[in-house]
Structure formats: structure tokens, C-alpha cells
């Protein structure tokens, strides 16, 4: 039952502007992920929403009410910290019940609320323990439990999984998604890990240098990145960028010449693109395929076999191109290969790094996690 609106929000630290005017709309029960490289301002933005950092200018609104001047506790939010920030001298139960104690809630009520949260997170056997005696995953759950107990309008997560090992991280990711469904709460989640962003988000906000680069569903960012930065940041392994020269613009798209001489017509809106303009063609490793007739060629310099898939790093016209191909491919280092791609999979970027609008929208681009669920139920 909570929406959050940011209107032209700015944060200055002394003379440096770290958040440069962010507009954002978070809908009720939405799971929004802020993602970006370290130093992009995502944590600062989260802390501004939490009230732990002041907002230099602009408005923060929860359900239409301006909250800029409210203290962190008065905003009705809960935050899960990267370090968990459990109170080391209190038991799990006291940790979870601390906010209620401060609010003057009676002991019995406190206990029942803590027990309820402990049940959801399977923490019942640990209630008497101190944080010291818990594993990383258990501490993480206590931190989440502390947030649940407050029954906040919005949950804030600041890189909550980054201190866990890989296996546990996957498990917690699933648990968080389940929790989101069970609590039906609005959640804002900060991470630098694009896999977490892709798997959990209804909506991803990509930040760089204090500026929102793009907002959209995971599939939208993957299939229709707005610019070179988002294209390179979302997707793993990273998208390949090849220099290309515009040969001609037509109704079918933009004809470009690739390094090595091959030509490709990418179905994109080439309005305003002049002939011979220098551009960049972006193509994801998983969209490149071995093809004797392919537009590109090169020599394999490194092979990484993951079993199911194989990454080929191919030296092409002085540049390393990554291919994600079938696991059983028989090539060896030093082989000369030809490879290509479907033109509809390619992205074109102009000299400013902005993506040319695709002529056809990907069918899954507007899919959200909620849609996923609806389909699976149907």
C-alpha cells in the first residue's frame, strides 16, 4: 500500500553533485532494483530515501506525502544493510523486537510479532542466540526479520547478498523473491550484480554517475538498451561492440559495413544518420553463431569450456570478440573461423552512444515478473 515518487532529486556532498536530478515512480508492491557500477550513487539514493542522507533538492513522496523533512524512523520504512548491522549485544529476538520496544509496544505483542516474522524466515530455533553465533545466511535472515517486524510500507535493501558465498546467494535470492510475494510489499533493492537485478526485479533502474541511464523491465533493458552503457552493463558476458560505418538508410533499417568488409542491414530507425557516419554495432556473445557464410571472421585466441556452453574469444580486426556457443564445439585455439548473427539481434549506437530505436519491439520486452507468475498459473 505504498508508492514512492522521486521528483528531480539531487544530492550534493560539498561541491560534488553525486545524484544529479533523479525522477522515479515506484508502484505499490513493485520490486525495484537500483543497479550500476560502484560509485554510481545507487546506495546514496537508497539512503536518501531511507532518510539517512539529506536530500539537497527535489521532492521525495510516499503515497503523495512529502517526506523530505521526516526522520528515518518516521518514514515508515525498513532497511536491510549490507553488513546486516545487527546489534551484537542483543539476542535475535531482541534484535528483531528493538524497534517495537522503542515504539513502546507491550512485551506480549512484541513477542507475537517477532515470532510471526521468525516463522516466515524459519528463525524460531535461533531466537535466543546472539548474532555472533549465527552463520552469514542466518544473520541475513535476522536482518530481514528485523525489517519485517516493523511492518514497513517500503523495504529497502542495500546490497544485502554481497557478503554471502555464491551458493547461499542464489538461495537467498529465491527466498527474497518468495518473501516479496508473501508480504506483498513494495521493495527497493540496491545491487551491483546484474544477475540479481535481472532475476528479482519488476523494474530495474540503471544508474551511472548519479544519473538514471534507463528504467525498465529486465527484458526491456536486455532487448532494448537505450544506450551503450546500459547495453554493456546488462547481460553477461558483456555485449561486443564493433566499429561500423553507415552505408545507407532505408525503410528496412540501416545498412552498415563491419570490420573485415561484411555488410549487414540492422532493422533500426536510422533517421538523421548520414552516410559514412561512424557508428558502433553491439551484438551479445550469445547471439553470435559459427557460420561459414558469416559476416565476421577471426582467429580463436582463448577458449573457455563451461560444459554446457563454450566461450570463444576471437581476434577480429585487432579486437577481441566473445562468442557464446554450444558446449560441444570442437574448435581449438588458433583456428580461423567465420561467424555471424541475425541482423535483428544487433544494436546500433550513434557517435554519442545512444541506441537507434529498433523497428520491431521484442515480444518479451514488456514482460515483468508478475506476468511470469500469471502465465505459470494459467
Amino acid at each position: 500500500m505504498a508508492t514512492l515518487t522521486l521528483n528531480n532529486v539531487v544530492k550534493n556532498f560539498g561541491d560534488t553533485q553525486v545524484i544529479k536530478g533523479v525522477d522515479l515512480e515506484v508502484k505499490d508492491q513493485e520490486f525495484v532494483v537500483f543497479v550500476g557500477p560502484s560509485g554510481c550513487g545507487k546506495s546514496t539514493l537508497l539512503r536518501m530515501i531511507a532518510g539517512l542522507e539529506s536530500t539537497s533538492s527535489g521532492d521525495l513522496l510516499i503515497d503523495g506525502q512529502r517526506i523530505n523533512e521526516l526522520g528515518p524512523a518516521e518514514r515508515g520504512l525498513a532497511m536491510v544493510f549490507q553488513s546486516y548491522a545487527l546489534y551484537p549485544h542483543m539476542t535475535v529476538e531482541d534484535n528483531m523486537g528493538f524497534s517495537l520496544k522503542l515504539a513502546g509496544v507491550s512485551k506480549e505483542e512484541r513477542r507475537s510479532k517477532v515470532l510471526e516474522a521468525a516463522r516466515i524466515l524459519q528463525l524460531e530455533p535461533l531466537l535466543e542466540r546472539k548474532p555472533k553465533a549465527l552463520s552469514g545466511g542466518q544473520r541475513q535472515r535476522v536482518a530481514i526479520g528485523r525489517a519485517i517486524v516493523r511492518n514497513p510500507s517500503i523495504f529497502l535493501f542495500d546490497e544485502p547478498l554481497s557478503n554471502l558465498d555464491a551458493a547461499l546467494r542464489v538461495q537467498m535470492r529465491i527466498e527474497l523473491a518468495r518473501l516479496h510475494e508473501e508480504l506483498k510489499a513494495t521493495m527497493i533493492y540496491v545491487t551491483h550484480d546484474q544477475i540479481e537485478a535481472m532475476t528479482m526485479a519488476d523494474k530495474i533502474v540503471v544508474l551511472q554517475g548519479g544519473v538514471v541511464e534507463q528504467v525498465g523491465s529486465p527484458m526491456e533493458l536486455y532487448h532494448h538498451p537505450r544506450n551503450r552503457f546500459v547495453a554493456g552493463f546488462i547481460g553477461s558476458p558483456k555485449m561486443n561492440f564493433l566499429p561500423a560505418v553507415a552505408e545507407g538508410v532505408g525503410a528496412a533499417g540501416v545498412e552498415v559495413r563491419l570490420p573485415g568488409g561484411g555488410n549487414v542491414c540492422v532493422p533500426a530507425n536510422g533517421e538523421g544518420i548520414a552516410r559514412d557516419a561512424a557508428m558502433e554495432l553491439g551484438i551479445r556473445p550469445e547471439h553470435l553463431e559459427l557460420d561459414e557464410q558469416g559476416a565476421l571472421s577471426g582467429r580463436i585466441s582463448v577458449i573457455e569450456r563451461l560444459g554446457g556452453q563454450t566461450s570463444l574469444y576471437v581476434e577480429t580486426e585487432g579486437q577481441l570478440v566473445t562468442l557464446m556457443v554450444d558446449g560441444d564445439v570442437a574448435h581449438r585455439v588458433g583456428d580461423d573461423i567465420r561467424f555471424g548473427f541475425a541482423a535483428s539481434r544487433a544494436h546500433l549506437f550513434d557517435a554519442d552512444g545512444l541506441a537507434l530505436e529498433s523497428l520491431e519491439r521484442h515480444p518479451l520486452a514488456s514482460l515483468t515478473r508478475q506476468d511470469n507468475r500469471a502465465e505459470s498459473k494459467a
Binding site: A50, G51, M79, A85, P88, A103
Partner: protein, 293 residues
């Protein structure tokens, strides 16, 4: 351990076997133990000797040094018998604990502000505080003496408490600041998210979590006040004179009763010595001002 042994054998000439190396290491360990204990005992010897002498008769005390004597408590009884001793000791306790409590009370809010609400001036303020510590006491002895004389604080516990509080305040603020800063910021922020105001933050989170640090800061302040001898010798004569002054009175030639002096000295330093032993690790961390982890 494995890696070091392999590394050593790899470097050592071929004819040296692993057994030789292990034996050499064992001997090295024994040598270290002997050296370490010898040095420790040498440093501790004057204290040890003082404690021993306290259990001797006055005749034994001035005789040729020996460890063979019949121990007696007569010096302790004699010192205890002097009504003075207890008064001096009480003064020491009152003055060192009083000034420490007062210094902590003044320093905690200040250190809190510096650690958690830093401004541009915080660092400058800290350095300035420390620099007041470098103002030599002698430089200000005369005015303090005259002020105290005029307001009747000479030879009073209150007077010494005031001086010691101010004398130790910079170091107390610094140490507390160091300990407070060590507290993960996240925990206090979590507290604020949970709705804690400043007072609750301090009471429920800061104080319990930094209690060891506060205690060791207090302890150091007690030790410094307990052992302080410049102000206590100059600002007190009899009524408020603490143990430092009492012990110093033995420096005059007519007071040369070594066994009694030793007994009194032992009693004067014992509590602080034991405190110090128990808390050395914590104390050092604060004393290094966070420059050494």
C-alpha cells in the same frame, strides 16, 4: 608451519636435513624463552624487590641483598597503624575516580559528536584539544596556584579533581573518539531506522557496545590521576594529599624506613598494577589513537 619448513629446506644447502632444521628451531625456541624471561625479570626486578622488602624487618631491609629472610608483616602493620596512610589512600581514590567520572561525563557527548556528527572543524578541534595537553603544567602552575589560593581550593580534593579532570580530558576525548569511531556506522543507522532518538541510541546501542572501550579509557584516566605527582605535590599539603605525596614524603632522609616505605609503596601501587595487567590490551588500542590496529 609446513610452508616455512619447505621454504627453509629449499634454501638450505643439500646436506642439512629436515631433522637438523627442526632441532635448530627447537633450540631457538628455548633460547628465546630464556632471553624473554631474563629480560622480563630484569625489568620487573625493582618492583619485585620493593614487594620483597615490604615483608622484611627494617634491619633485614638494609642488610646485604638476599632472598633468604623470615617474612614478617610488621611493616604493613606499622604503615596501617599510621592513621595517615588511610587518609592519603582515600584521597587518591576519591580524586582519581572523581576526576575520571567527571572527565567521562564531559567527554562522552563531545566524542559522540566528533565520531558521529563530524563537521569540517572536527579534526582541527581534536588536534587543538591534544595540543592543550602539550601546554606544560609548569607554565601555568603559578596562576593556577594563585587562583586556587584565592578561591580556597588549595589542598582540597575538589581542587585536585578539577585539575585532573581538565588534565586528562583531551586524552579521554581522544580515546573515546577512537573507540566510538570503531563502531560500525551501520549499527547506529539501523538503530535510527528502528526509531531510536539520540538518547536511546546512546543508551541502548553506543554505551553497551563501547563499554569495554569506555572502561579502559576510564581506567587509563584513573591510572594517570592516581600516579600524577606534579599537581598533587604542588597543590596539596596535608588535607587532600594523595598517595603520591605521601610516598614522596619518604624522600627526606629522616624518613628512611625502607621496609615501611616498601610496604606503603606496595599498597599504593598494587590496585593500579593489577588494573593495568588486566586491561593492558584494551588500553593500548585507545592510547594509540587508532593509529595502530
Amino acid at each position: 608451519m609446513n610452508t616455512t619448513t619447505t621454504a627453509k629446506t629449499a634454501v638450505a644447502p643439500a646436506h642439512v636435513s629436515i631433522g637438523d632444521v627442526a632441532r635448530a628451531q627447537r633450540w631457538r625456541k628455548v633460547g628465546m624463552a630464556l632471553l624473554g624471561w631474563a629480560v622480563a625479570l630484569l625489568i620487573f626486578f625493582p618492583i619485585f624487590w620493593m614487594i620483597i622488602t615490604g615483608f622484611k624487618t627494617e634491619t633485614d631491609a638494609v642488610a646485604d641483598p638476599t632472598l633468604i629472610f623470615s617474612p614478617t608483616l610488621e611493616s604493613y602493620a606499622a604503615v596501617q597503624g599510621r592513621a595517615d596512610y588511610l587518609k592519603f589512600a582515600l584521597n587518591s581514590v576519591a580524586v582519581s575516580f572523581g576526576s575520571t567520572l567527571l572527565a567521562l561525563l564531559i567527554a562522552i557527548p563531545s566524542a559522540y559528536a566528533m565520531a558521529f556528527l563530524p563537521t569540517k572543524r572536527t579534526k582541527g578541534t581534536l588536534l587543538w584539544m591534544l595540543s592543550t595537553k602539550m601546554l606544560p603544567s609548569v607554565g601555568v602552575l603559578v596562576p593556577i596556584y594563585l587562583i586556587f589560593r584565592d578561591v580556597g581550593l588549595l589542598d582540597t580534593r575538589t581542587g585536585l579533581i578539577i585539575v585532573y579532570t581538565l588534565m586528562n580530558l583531551p586524552i579521554v576525548v581522544w580515546m573515546l573518539y577512537t573507540f566510538f569511531k570503531d563502531l560500525p556506522k551501520d549499527i547506529l543507522e539501523a538503530g535510527r531506522m528502528d526509531g531510536a532518538g539520540t538518547l536511546q541510541e546512546v543508551w541502548y546501542l553506543l554505551l553497551p557496545l563501547t563499554l569495554p572501550g569506555i572502561a579502559s579509557t576510564g581506567l587509563l584516566s584513573v591510572i594517570l590521576s592516581w600516579n600524577e605527582a606534579f599537581w598533587s605535590l604542588n597543590l596539596t599539603t596535608s588535607n587532600a594529599a594523595p598517595l603520591t605525596a605521601y610516598i614522596a614524603s619518604f624522600s627526606s632522609p629522616e624518613g628512611l624506613f625502607w621496609a615501611k616505605l616498601s610496604a606503603a609503596s606496595t599498597m599504593a601501587i598494587a590496585p593500579i598494577l593489577i588494573f593495568g595487567w588486566l586491561t593492558q590490551k584494551q588500553m593500548v588500542r585507545g592510547l594509540t589513537f587508532g593509529a595502530v590496529k
